[in-house]
């Protein structure tokens, strides 16, 4: 069969109704899925943001009330992290609104987005865990009365967080990126 014949056969299906669409069900699902994803991301970002601001405020109030000025340093770290989360959120919303032109553009953007997430995961300890770690360290320096097992628990918690972040990166983000890189190479080969 020649290619022109294949094209004719292919075009014939334009006159055939193979599927029927339940439009109201489709609309319901599209809206529900869109809102679910949006809600999930918003919830995650806003919870982190509010948590960091609250921690900063509480630490500031405690510092001022008890005249423990070193606590203001903790508060400053919390506010800086909150600022970083806010900036990341703004960048994400701005990035989402961009118009894509081609499949390759889409691929490149998704790869960039995965790189961005991978970077966030890699620096998770630095940006999210380190402020908490410093807070504990500063407190430990000024309060010697805490039992030893509490420090062990803190170290174990940091160890677990580090393991979980690395696992997420290794099992989810990096394989997805590899898939996309493979697609990109499929698209660009024969060049």
């Amino acid at each position: 069969m020649e290619f022109e014949d294949m094209k004719k056969i292919w075009d014939e299906q334009n006159n055939e109704n193979i599927y029927a669409i339940n439009e109201s069900e489709l609309h319901r699902r599209v809206i529900r899925k869109k809102n679910r994803v949006k809600r999930m991301i918003n919830k995650f970002e806003l919870t982190l943001l509010v948590a960091m601001i609250c921690c900063g405020l509480v630490t500031t109030i405690i510092g001022i009330l008890h005249n423990q000025l070193y606590k203001l340093l903790d508060a400053l770290i919390f506010f800086m992290v909150a600022g970083y989360i806010y900036k990341s959120r703004r960048d994400r919303i701005k990035y989402e609104g961009q118009s894509n032109l081609s499949l390759l553009d889409d691929l490149e953007q998704t790869i960039r987005s995965l790189d961005y997430h991978a970077k966030r995961y890699k620096y998770f300890l630095l940006w999210y865990m380190l402020p908490i770690f410093f807070t504990i360290l500063i407190n430990a320096t000024f309060h010697y009365s805490k039992p030893w097992w509490l420090w062990v628990a803190f170290v174990a918690f940091f160890g677990f967080a580090y393991w979980a972040v690395k696992k997420e990166l290794r099992c989810k983000i990096l394989p997805k990126k590899e898939d996309l890189l493979h697609l990109r190479s499929l698209l660009l080969n024969d060049e």
């Binding site: 292919w10 055939e16 193979i18 669409i21 699902r29």
Partner: protein, 170 residues
Amino acid sequence: MPESEQKEIFYDWLKKYKGLLFKVVRAYAFNLHDQEDLFQEITLQIWNSIPNFRGDSAASTWVYRVSLYSAISWSKKEKKHSTGKQSLDGVSHMLTEISSFKDGRVEWLYKQIAKLNEIDRSLTLLLLDGFSYKEMSNILGISESNVGVKINRIKKDLIQKSQEDFKNGV
């Protein structure tokens, strides 16, 4: 963009280009459950893409591009989650198969397309739907010469396969 306007455009596109969507769905998903899942994914991406559409290209080209990218992403994801999948909602279905192709060779074409990698599948669909090399190059973001090389290879393979299969009475 107000949601009412977005909804109006969405239904207009759905009405005009549903044939195109079904072709993409059929080329990337091979049972009704997956086809429904992919159709949902594609329509969601089309819905999300409407505010970004500025009319620089034809709406059909835009819809094709969004559909192909959604299908490629979906098929990558599906490879990892193809087993033990639950029904989408278990209640009402969004897509119903109401007939099959009159010409069995259409099925044969879909089978050949299914054997290709994700990118070649997209190119074959665009080629069969009469897109020019330039349009394909714009949709995929690769050079026209690259499109040409790929298309020649795909055409050659398809013709060779058809000769083998139809000679053997498949």
